[in-house]
């Protein structure tokens, strides 16, 4: 076929094929893993959310029929008592992930980036809590929050004498107690951010310094815009991770005092319920997957808007 072609185009064609082959070969393992481990289950989840699938027909999910196909959704949205509470909590946790966890992580990363005494030691210590599984952490905090043995109630008693309630049972405080049990352990996130801060070229910093931007000002105008891609990524990680919170709920409250989370109700429906509601659990899972997509879009949007503005103001400052 290619006999008439010049050697040059033949080589190019071969080159293109080789390139394609390389791309294919290098992507294949990950794509296969994805397909087997994620795609297939996701499809199952979505399809079965339209099925009657509970203890009566556990091996053979049954399509609800076109007329009733949204029955599970109707049940979850309007009848199931914990769904909205769980969605609100999980969303709020996702929000806090972006607006509390990431700023804290960034501030600490900036602190770690300064060449001051003690930084290295603190940095090494700071990562330790992240090595404790969230299950173990949940157990530790259960003890810290205990009204009889813990360390939190004595602190509250300084401000409010005679306070004897169990804060894990108070609507409102319980939510924040759960939040406090995980949100400040940003070790890995901080390290990821720190890595990128350190990668900011020294020349850029020096140039900024000549312009009179040092310390916090430099961080704000020069460093942050330069690491915005990383910030966006860790924000997405923090938001989705917080949205999926399960262990904290399980170990601290079991959903009492308004602390249900989306992951927790999925397990409640699928496992804890003696009526084994797989179909309905998967309906919640679909909501969870969609929420994840929404989170990614929102965080991306947030970063493209806020950094466009910041970039502008940064330039203004330099003039």
């Amino acid at each position: 076929m290619k006999t008439t072609n010049t050697a040059d185009t033949g080589a190019k064609g071969r080159q293109a094929w080789r390139r394609r082959g390389f791309i294919f070969a290098f992507l294949a393992p990950t794509v296969i893993a994805f397909t087997v481990f994620y795609l297939y289950p996701i499809i199952t989840v979505v399809l079965t959310s339209f099925c009657k699938w509970d203890y009566t027909n556990i091996t053979s999910p049954e399509f609800l029929g076109f007329k009733d196909m949204f029955n599970n959704y109707k049940y979850i949205f309007s009848t199931y008592p914990y769904f909205w509470e769980a969605l609100r909590n999980s969303s709020l946790w996702a929000f806090l992930g972006v607006f509390l966890q990431i700023p804290v992580a960034t501030l600490i990363a900036l602190a770690f980036s300064r060449k001051m005494r003690g930084v290295k030691l603190v940095r090494n210590i700071y990562i330790i809590p992240n090595m404790i599984s969230s299950a173990a952490m949940g157990m530790i905090f259960l003890q810290l929050y205990s009204p009889l043995y813990g360390i939190v109630n004595p602190i509250i008693q300084v401000f409010e004498e005679g306070f004897t309630e169990n804060i894990l049972l108070l609507k409102g405080p319980a939510f924040w107690a759960l939040t406090g049990a995980y949100i400040f352990f940003t070790g890995t996130t901080t390290l990821l951010i720190l890595g990128n801060i350190m990668a900011v070229p020294q020349e850029v910093r020096e140039a900024a310094m000549l312009d009179g931007a040092s310390g916090l000002k430099q961080d704000w105008y020069i460093v942050l815009p330069m690491i915005k891609d990383t910030l966006r990524t860790v924000s997405i990680l923090a938001a989705t991770g917080s949205f999926l919170i399960y262990n904290e709920v399980y170990f601290l409250t079991k959903g009492a005092a308004g602390t249900y989370s989306i992951s927790y109700i999925i397990r409640e429906l699928a496992i804890t319920s003696p009526r084994t509601q797989f179909g309905r659990a998967n309906t919640v899972a679909v909501v969870q997957i969609l929420a994840g997509l929404v989170i990614i879009v929102l965080v991306n949007l947030l970063y493209s808007i806020s950094f466009r503005r910041k970039h502008g103001s940064g330039e203004g400052g330099r003039k």
Binding site: T30, F34, Y40, G215, G292
Partner: protein
């Protein structure tokens, strides 16, 4: 070589602010740890709660953790399972991340979206399909099952870390290698992979921590206690009938110790990965 210069230029305000941040970081990370370690030395942690010093140091929990629970066996299992799965997944992901980071092809957007999407898929949703798969592959109740699951899970985080690292590597390096006559595979293996090693190591250590602490899948696909991983230790202490807090806390200290030691050993690689020095060269 300008090491001295930044120190001089840090203003007092920045300095104070930095120390506040450091103090906060120290407080947050030490409170649970110190509390845990202190409690593990108390004979009855509930009798002397909070940060009360132990009356006398009680090592019973540690002794029984090592004597009765065959911790070394669990450590061996965990090391093996977490280690092998990390190697497999790092190899897999550093390959695909390279292609996505450096090459243009149809469907690139879809591939990255796919991999990102793995972040928010709940394990509960995966449970039954994956369990059935494990059964069908005939690897139920084997370490291989867990290795497979760990290698495939947590794709997103590793992918992001490694891809970002690739993104920082100057394109010229590759071009030079290509001009020298390296093929695609060679370019990646000889030039890019070694340079990206710190980034891959960071991802590997993160993944290792995750796998080390994972319990949900471990409890699901492994039945034989001889093959169980370390987090299984925790659950053996929380029985419905009695609560051995001294033992529980001791076991928890023992569980978190190896990752900490590992971190100290690999600290240099972390710094290397973080400073990004290799890329600039």
């Amino acid at each position: 070589m300008k090491k001295q210069k930044p120190i001089k230029t840090i203003s007092t305000a920045t300095r104070i602010f930095t120390y506040i941040c450091l103090a906060w970081a120290l407080l947050v990370s030490l409170v649970p740890i110190v509390w845990l370690v202190m409690s593990s030395f108390k004979e009855d942690p509930l009798a002397r709660p909070g940060f009360m010093l132990p009356e006398s140091i009680c090592l019973d929990g540690y002794i029984s953790t090592f004597r009765d629970l065959h911790v070394m066996r669990y450590f061996g299992n965990s090391m093996w399972i977490a280690g092998v799965s990390v190697i497999v997944s790092m190899l897999m992901i550093s390959m695909s991340a390279y292609v996505v980071a450096r090459m243009e092809f149809k469907g690139k957007k879809i591939v990255s979206m796919m991999l990102y999407s793995t972040m928010f898929i709940p394990a509960t949703a995966l449970t039954y399909p994956v369990y059935n798969l494990v059964n069908r592959l005939n690897i139920y109740d084997t370490r291989a099952a867990l290795i497979m699951i760990y290698a495939c899970s947590g794709i997103a985080v590793s992918f992001i870390v490694i891809r970002n690292y690739y993104g920082n590597i100057p394109k010229e390096l590759e071009e030079a290698a290509r001009i020298d006559g390296c093929g695609y595979v060679q370019t990646w293996w000889r030039v890019i992979f070694p340079i990206a090693r710190p980034g891959i190591l960071t991802a590997a250590v993160l993944a290792f921590f995750n796998n080390w602490n994972e319990y949900y899948w471990a409890s699901l696909v492994i039945i034989d206690r001889n093959k169980m991983t370390v987090p299984a230790l925790l659950s053996t202490f929380t029985t419905a009938f009695r609560t051995n807090y001294n033992g529980l806390f001791s076991a928890m200290v023992v569980i978190i110790l190896p990752p900490i030691i590992l971190y100290c050993v690999f600290n240099k690689f972390f710094v290397e990965a973080l400073s990004g020095g290799a890329v600039k060269g």
